[in-house]
Amino acid sequence: MAYDYEKSIRPGKLPHIWCPGCGHGIVMKGLIRAMDTCGLDRKNTAIVSGIGCASRLPGYLDACTLHTAHGRAAAFATGVKMAKPEMTVICCGGDGDGTAIGGNHFIHACRRNIDMTYVLMNNFIYGMTGGQFSPCTPTGAKASTTPYGNPDPIFDISKLAIGSGATFVARTTAAHPREIDRLIVQGIQHKGMAVIEVLDDCPTTYGRRNKFRSVVDMMKHLKANAVPIKAAAKMTAEQLEGKFLTGVLFQDTEKPEYCEMYAEVIKKAQGA
């Protein structure tokens, strides 16, 4: 039987704005399945995003949804979670939103280890504004503002999250749809800051400029270069050149979660 996505979608809000072949829709379906698997009560679930194509995702989902300003999702979400820790908080957005303009909020949410799940859709580009390079556009790639090839080095989002103190960090791709929900489920169930980086595609502003003639080409590229972390352990540095590791890259269950730490502050202030 086909999966019933419709019960999670807000009535009347489809069709979505995404282009045919855009990877963000695959991520949304994964998120819906993950929320179902976790049995989340959507009345008590806040889905918070910034601005960008990826950040349009919350509007389609039937929950408490907060479409904020460019880059600010993690900071808004921090306020929601602090003020109402009993809510499940999920952030979603793009690579530009989360790591350029919102990079500061992103790393500090990781550092605090506040209990939220951040689904970061990395399509290597600023899709919404027409394909300018992002901190994740590969060096040398073509973007509308790198006509001679991108001179900038990239951010490795997962490494950034681990280095900043997130306690669950995982990566997969839009070419691995089943792994998307599996990892988001683990992220939601993890107490603390969980970052799930999903490498996806923007055929409209990235693919066509970078020799991926079709969405299929892009998906093949994601599939061919994804190396599960376990398999990577047996590979040489040379073999890993240009590949990206997938699966659960890091988990720490010891570091205290931020709202629990603050609950201790309240206890102390109240003289308990």
Binding site: K43, A46, L66, T68, R72, A75, F76, G79, A83, M87
Partner: protein, 377 residues
Amino acid sequence: MAKKVALLQGNEACAMGAVYAGAKFFGGYPITPSTEVAEVLSKELPKVGGKFIQMEDEIGAMASVIGASLTGAKSITATSGPGVSLKQELIGYACIAEVPCVIINVMRGGPSTGMPTGPGQSDVMQAMWGTHGDHAAIALVPNSCQEIFSETVRAFNLAEKYRMPVQVLFDEIVGHMRERIVFPEPGELEVIDREAPTEGPDTYKPYDATKGQVPPLASFGSGYKFHVTGLNKADDGFPTTKASLVDAEERRQIAKVMDNVADIESNEEYLTEDAEVIIWAYGSTSRSARYAVNELRSQGIKAGLFRPITLWPFPAKRTAQLAVQCKAIVVSEMNLGQMIYEVERVAKGNCVVAGEFRVDGEPINPGQIMKKVKEVI
């Protein structure tokens, strides 16, 4: 029972006013001369089960405040010039998404880093026009520690009642000055809580104008699922570009303030009845102005003081009346002339409008104001 009294700094009074109003969330970033507001709230909020967070910057602080407010918590941030500049985009977000919150701006000299420990009143136009796009603004300008306490309470009331950001601006002088404060008993000052929706979650629309100019805001996590966005939106909260809907929403959001000026406005007048010259001043400057009025009166000059406590919306009606009644208005402010533009606009040439300004980090003194008054009459 004797009332509780204390010798408090303006900034401390502000924090205590927030607690009195029922604040449950503070998100901020340290900046002189506002930091004591954060320091006191970091201590006081957890005592009442509230939350304090020091964010990574002022943008994050403003974002956290809006997020917290959407869960129903009365929320506040405090900063100064450079921080207010950073908050501007999200102040606009709180305007369009109609999320109640209070922003404290302890004004220092500027632009840029300016004079961190010196007083200023140069953010008063920014309080109205700082964020992009058409919007209404409410800004309050108390001039004493006691009034900072009560105006902070009123700021929360107005934020919750009109579902919008409210700014409280006081200059560094009032922020750091210590005065005797009498703590109001619970119930002595009005405390307005957010109106909850009357209809159930299935039919709730967060921007339904048929529910009044200020449609009730449900809280996240209270059984209501709804969407909040900074895009222009229809009554259900979802983005729209339909001209008639965009226009109606924009106008409603301004009308909810401008149609209720009588409720929001608050002014103090001193000896204005027979005044030939009126000093128009706010914040610490108004204290020098009051001294100047007394001195001038003793010298036989019929001077009076008009002091706005609500700076925005601008007290247009009363200022216009005074312009007809008197020979001259002297606007005195610690900037190079900002509110004077509004005064000139509404005076419509009915009286002389002159300015007495200062931006050297020193307070405006009564002698300076008196000299100006004598020049214009």
